[in-house]
Symmetry: D2
Subunit: 259 residues, 4 copies
């Protein structure tokens, strides 16, 4: 069987390999999630369990795919940062994007029954992915700030919109009422009309979710003495903090530091 | 909130857009399926239900993602051919690869309980994907021939190997016995030692699986007369035929023809 | 001297390598030739010597750079076709473009005094270059037709424009008179107003210039008998024919044929 | 004339556009300069006029092509640094490479008779070009250090080699004598055998040539008073200094600074 006769077709394969010493961001996005969230009765403006499912999947990707040092998620999207020093998959675009998007999707369907024991998955969801290369840490930080600002703007809007709708307005009227309003107006409206202090809402909604490896104090029982001791361990954690200002990064210099 | 301040980071996004009038092949591959098939007790050399699950997922991708005119699968891989005239996703690499690999994975986990009601999915599987561009139909045909030859060679080898093992040989001895043998030797061995006529084995194992849209005769009952009439309808079908020779293609000129 | 310390910077080099079995066109264009032709008093609408200089340079490129099977020039641009089977420079984009544009430019300055012995080169001209990949011979033929149609349209317009100007019109009036006219109108105007039969003008102006290797009959004197014999030899030739219709190509199947 | 019928071929054009905020280096190299220098009797190990011609051409490119903030040359190669903030040619690869290599070549042939009035150019030289993208200033600095180290190593070797040859050794014997020697050995050999203090040789040979815009003191005569005044002006200058250490850059923060 003349196998070799056809093998020349491998010469048509091309690889995009990203430059060394650059930061790579793989961002995945739910495809058609407008319909998906409607079909599966997600709570509005935020469905806490749906966000927890996203975080669980992202954590799986974070722990299994090499080279990822940071992840940020909001709504139906997640950004995974591949460290500038990572050589995982030799920095090949197709491998990085397809592996991350595939594993994330797999985890989503896999964990659905655990997170939503009462709600059946009606059809299989899918995500698309892309990869963007950022040459410096400063620009990467701006990328992450861009996503967190996006989370804030969307969440503030959606909180107002759904509060209005839940108070009896039609969606058209709610939309009209919010048109042209600034952040301050929206905060004011929530507070005066509905007694909602936006800044007291759960930070997972306002700040999105951050996955990093960080030092955590854990208690260990000394087997010999029975004494309880605290030890600092490096663990994967999910937090909901401001990543626009410097404080978060100054407290965790190991995240973006040289590996 | 100075959204605009960070939006410049979008300028770093790059798109690979494939040339018009070229054939695109998205090939997906199971990641770490050696371990996955072992953990999930797949039958050797072929697990029919596992192949049917692959085909079911591929069929879902075939029907949902635009521009795909042909798909070919064997083992834990599947190739999807995007027609040279397709403008789906504007021929953007990241969108095509990530959407197909994500949907395929989602379907795999989603349909698992249906196909394997008796076997629990122990951990979420993942696939990687790549896209290759072929400039002419002739070279595309050589690509598909390459995959079908690969299917044949692997299946003949695996059939011999597992037959020897099931007959009591150790895996090391089976491997040694097959070393350096030609196709003819392997056919001979199966026939004389084990009474197996290789060419009579199921074609899904020997030829792999092909998904196309094809004309199918369907019976319709005329509501007025109650008469049963045959109608030719275009349907998505899965077949297991030779795609190396011309016959398959000559019988179905619509598959690769101008759209 | 720690040479190795810095050599890692080579890892940042990237190569664009074109797909096998595709046609590559390197097109070069004069940069700022509006000013260049004005400064050097080129005749209008066509300067025959300037075109001959372009052809001479293109011929030098054609003969020195590997893999080129066809070249087409008009005005201050030239297209070089790299054969689909060529492996020259391993089909690397930067090598192909830079070598061709550099050699062409070098020849232009080098041959200037020979072609224009009476006119000094006042400043060094430059060209830019790009490379485009065409997947099939049919599309390559369309590319070449596109350029020859462009040559025809521009030349017909320029011939009318400069004939009007030379007859005493201002450039503004000449432009206005031609606005909205069709090819037929322009032919008619040249004939009735100025007695010019456009189709009798030199084909180098109307058709552009084509460089190919072709069979040429040459006379050889037999040294023994003194007899003159005709021999067919393959030579690089410059011709000015129609390349849109099939005839040119049917007469010369070796040009685009398999190598 | 159906122009539009063929214009679809423009859809095949692709542009590589470099990432914003990255440093681009266009490096050009003489093609076949071994033969070129032999044919044109260049002095060994260094021909001062040939280097001056290279510098003159590089200076022309530096002054005419936008976005270049630094250039470094040695032997028959030159590197042009496009500033990270430059938007010239929209950072398109083909435009940048082809324009720079074409203009450089044009200047080389154009200025040849001025620099070598006694030596005719026997055939047209050509250069190839490539472009490399560096994400940070630190890595760009390492690139430039790499080239200057290369200049030093080659020049020390060539100085020894040609001194040995000029002292009567065959080229084979000279090569053998230098095999395996370290820098210190070569310096020692030049000094003890030939009385040459390598560090006293012209810095253009040892350090290569650097082109930058820098502040230069110029004398101006005040028209009113006739007084001579010194003014600092920004001028394009060619220098031959160390660019590996920080001093050069600390003295000229404007070169790589934000534009």
């Amino acid at each position: 069987m003349a196998k070799s006769k056809y093998e020349y077709v491998k010469q048509f394969e091309r690889e995009t390999v990203f430059l060394p010493h650059t930061w790579l961001v793989v961002r995945i996005d739910g495809q058609g999630f407008h319909r998906f969230t409607a079909t599966h009765d997600f709570e509005k403006p935020n469905d806490l369990r749906a966000l927890e499912l996203m975080n669980r999947c992202a954590r799986g990707v974070f722990d299994q795919v090499g080279g990822i040092c940071f992840a940020y998620g909001e709504s139906d999207e997640y950004s995974f940062v591949v460290h500038e020093n990572s050589q995982y998959f030799n920095r090949r675009e197709a491998k990085l994007v397809s592996s991350i998007v595939s594993l994330f999707t797999s985890l989503y369907v896999f964990y659905w029954p655990t997170v939503f024991p009462d709600r059946q998955l009606k059809y299989p969801p899918s995500f698309d992915g892309r990869i963007v290369c950022y040459p410096t840490e400063a620009i990467l930080r701006d990328y992450l700030a861009w996503r967190q600002v996006d989370c804030h703007i969307n969440n503030l809007y959606n909180t107002c919109f759904w509060t209005l709708v839940q108070s009896g307005k039609s969606t058209v009227d709610a939309e009209r009422e919010l048109m042209g309003t600034l952040s301050a107006d929206k905060n004011e409206m929530l507070f005066t009309k509905f007694g909602i202090n936006y800044n007291k809402l759960p930070s997972i909604f306002r700040k999105g979710s951050i996955i990093v490896r960080d030092y955590v104090e854990e208690e260990h029982t000394d087997k010999a003495t029975g004494e309880i001791r605290k030890k600092r361990k490096m663990r994967t954690v999910v937090v909901h903090e401001d990543i626009i200002k410097n404080k978060f990064w100054e407290q965790r210099p190991h995240i973006l530091g040289k590996k």
